[in-house]
Symmetry: C2
Subunit: 329 residues, 2 copies
């Protein structure tokens, strides 16, 4: 079991360590890379040897961050994981066999953190690990430089959808203010992080919009992508995942459905709902599950069967919600 | 000429006034409505009679704000304009003939403010008029209630594209933090303001993506909408305007073009460029103009002619930028 530690302990551990390896999670996002790079820069400013390691390549959109990738040129004596909630999230550990097994310190904001590290600093009220580090780095006696500010802003902005997601708090905005004052060039960063859509993303959106259908007085919207379309567009995991929020985002839509055909022909269905209906109720009766506003299930058979089955469940849930509302009023 | 006034003077004017009419600008956005409603609530909390007036109807997406619309039930003795940069922006003044001519006080953040009011409090560093009011309302001795916070957050968030646009500063984030602490329900507000796309918007995006073409090694992207398509989709001004940022937002695109056919058959062309090229150079030689990164022109004749003419100018500008870059390196 991990030991829970406070800022003061973390600062003392980092200040007394050297040859520090910083581990990020697999499929790296802006928070794990931004936090890892910011911590690495801060440790280097203190004259320490430090580098960052991730099982997957750094995505092109984060290549502008001044990351020192671990190249084996030193033997790590202290291992810190940033934004990694569980040991399985290190990914394929071929390039870090011994390190991921003995993590000295974990700095994270995921309430689900499994406690795999020897010591853990966890704050699940923080919108991003980078929000924690915005406080921690000055406590290490390191001034936040424009480079460090850019890394931390990247972490916070990407984990909050640019301050749009529900994890955004007053403290998140205060951290952003401090980073802008420290020299984060938000014009440039926001353009890099949010104004650039990949060709694959555009292709995915086009496919989605062309397949858009409405049901039940426009209360339900559905998009459908066949395996062949997905292959032809060259659309990968994250772009497809993002599409699942599209149908629900349309004015007046309470239930948004995304049907994606799998290689074996079956349909993976994502269900997103508004405040009045329960996505899990819809998915559960088809053998799936999830959360009240985001759930999923899988249906084998052809498209007509899949649509028919899921739309039946949507109808039941819309009716249930309508009768509840009628009873209340 | 208007008198420029500071916070203290504005507070004293507002505290000594009563029967206050607050004017918003035409085609009202989140900032003018949010600011007007927040100021109205603050004045009402002080026991004053106040109401808000706009030449256009309040858009449905802002109908949730607790706005007191002026219904003629009192005779205004003090007129305040919020977020209105010039007298022509009051719009059709049929419902406010006498008031817009004699504005006692203007509170605004547009550097272009024409100074039409008797006194003006202007801060063009503020991202939104609502950012100014976040400081001003407590100075009036009024606590920011959750309702006022929701209005002011709406103004700031909409004017900054949810903290994405270049007008966003550290002060903007600090204002947002204060409003969240005062009770602005950002989960609910962000969903209302940013997660909801109109059917017309979806139709416009679909049209745009279906017409998307690339030129010059994908350095130029072009979308084209005919008059018939625009009519069929029922797409109005703001949704069409928003589309003009789409082609430039695609990975690797330096010049984004949007061609919109007008009723008379001519094409209105919007040019958006990245850091390396000048939109105004492109538009100017076709009789248009604008800014370095956003410009426009109009070309009569058929679509092939319009495309040919604008793409020729794009080519020249891309070549000019390439030779500049070559000379520098």
């Amino acid at each position: 079991m991990t030991q829970s530690v406070d800022h003061e302990t973390v600062v003392s551990r980092l200040l007394s360590a050297d040859e520090i390896l910083i581990l990020c999670h697999k499929n790296p996002d802006g928070d794990t890379i931004g936090s890892g790079t910011a911590l690495c820069l801060a440790l280097q400013k203190l004259g320490k040897t430090a580098a960052v390691l991730c099982s997957d390549p750094i995505p092109a959109m984060y290549a502008f961050l001044p990351i020192t990738v671990f190249d084996g040129s030193f033997t790590p004596h202290f291992v810190v994981a940033v934004d990694v909630a569980g040991i399985q999230l290190f990914g394929d550990r071929n390039n870090m066999p011994q390190y991921a097994e003995h993590v000295d310190l974990c700095i994270d904001h995921h309430g689900s953190n499994s406690g795999y590290a020897y010591e853990t600093m966890l704050d699940d009220h923080a919108a991003a690990t980078a929000e924690l580090l915005t406080a921690l780095i000055p406590e290490m006696g390191v001034e936040i430089t424009p480079d460090i500010a850019a890394c931390l802003y990247t972490g916070i902005a990407t984990d909050t959808g640019c301050f749009r997601f529900t994890n955004t708090t007053a403290a998140t905005h205060r951290a952003a203010a401090a980073l802008i004052e420290a020299g984060a060039d938000v014009e440039n960063l926001n353009e890099r992080l949010f104004e650039c859509r990949s060709h694959a993303r555009m292709a995915a959106e086009r496919m989605a919009l062309e397949s858009l259908e409405f049901y039940y007085d426009n209360r339900c919207a559905l998009i459908c992508l066949t395996w062949d379309q997905i292959q032809a567009a060259g659309v990968a995991g994250a772009e497809l995942e993002d599409l699942t929020s599209l149908p629900r985002s349309i004015e007046g839509v309470e239930v948004g459905l995304t049907l994606r055909q799998q290689k074996d022909g079956s349909y993976k269905i994502s269900v997103r709902t508004g405040h009045d209906t329960n996505a899990c109720n819809i998915a559960r009766r088809l053998g799936g599950g999830g959360h009240p506003r985001a759930a999923g299930c899988e249906i084998s058979g052809n498209l007509d069967n899949a649509k028919h089955a899921i739309l039946d469940e949507v109808k039941k849930e819309l009716d249930r919600s309508a009768s509840l509302n009628a009873a209340e009023s």
